[in-house]
Subunit: 114 residues, 2 copies
Amino acid sequence: MSAEPRLDALFQALADPTRRSLLSQLARGPASVSDLAQPFDMALPSLMGHLRKLEDAGLIETRKDGRVRTCAIVPEAFTPVRGWLDEQRALWEGRLDRLDDYVTRLMKERQNGH
Amino acid sequence: MSAEPRLDALFQALADPTRRSLLSQLARGPASVSDLAQPFDMALPSLMGHLRKLEDAGLIETRKDGRVRTCAIVPEAFTPVRGWLDEQRALWEGRLDRLDDYVTRLMKERQNGH
DNA sequence: GAGATAGTTAGCCATATTCCTAACCAAAGG
DNA sequence: CCTTTGGTTAGGAATATGGCTAACTATCTC
């Protein structure tokens, strides 16, 4: 199964400042929808929409207790994002390593050529 | 200056599979627009649009030589993305550390209470 | 200079996204 | 049982996004 759809959802969830703020709040600990809404000048259904998008991406999970819905971050859900970034870093660093190897060999050949 | 607009642009640039594929190609080394376009079944202006978005976000830079535009990745441009992820990890790990401290103190108090 | 190649610009279309208000539902408190 | 509180659903508006085609421009090759 390709990771692409998951990465789509993850990066798309992170592509909005409101959702990143929500995640930062939840990184400090679980919170109710009302608690999360307080710092924002936004209608509740709009904020609920953002939470829904984070949940659909798997970055948070929510639980209803009575009339209160509590949200919590899912730390391991960030792993594919970090993984993709690490892959890119490995790719360009590998390119630098190959260049370094090449230059090192070239220098030795020049020394041996004398 | 807030990092938010930069993070918006960065995450939005990464939120599309075509653009992530382009970045993976460029992580292997610079490439011309034509080279980059080959793996995609997409009209050239559409692909150019994606490259423009990556450039606007600062993730790539491009240079025109004659009729060929060459693109190259900008590795350091990913730093704010990693930084934000590290911040979130520090937040929830800090919460775990505080919990751990709390539990450790609670255990000691119980021992001393006897 | 004509033809080919690489890329650019403009305009359009369909879909997605973000936000709103209004109305409603479920659960708690008095 | 009524009121309050916390959240949910529905529908709409404005904007953004991702793709297309057509036409064009700039550069290279012969």
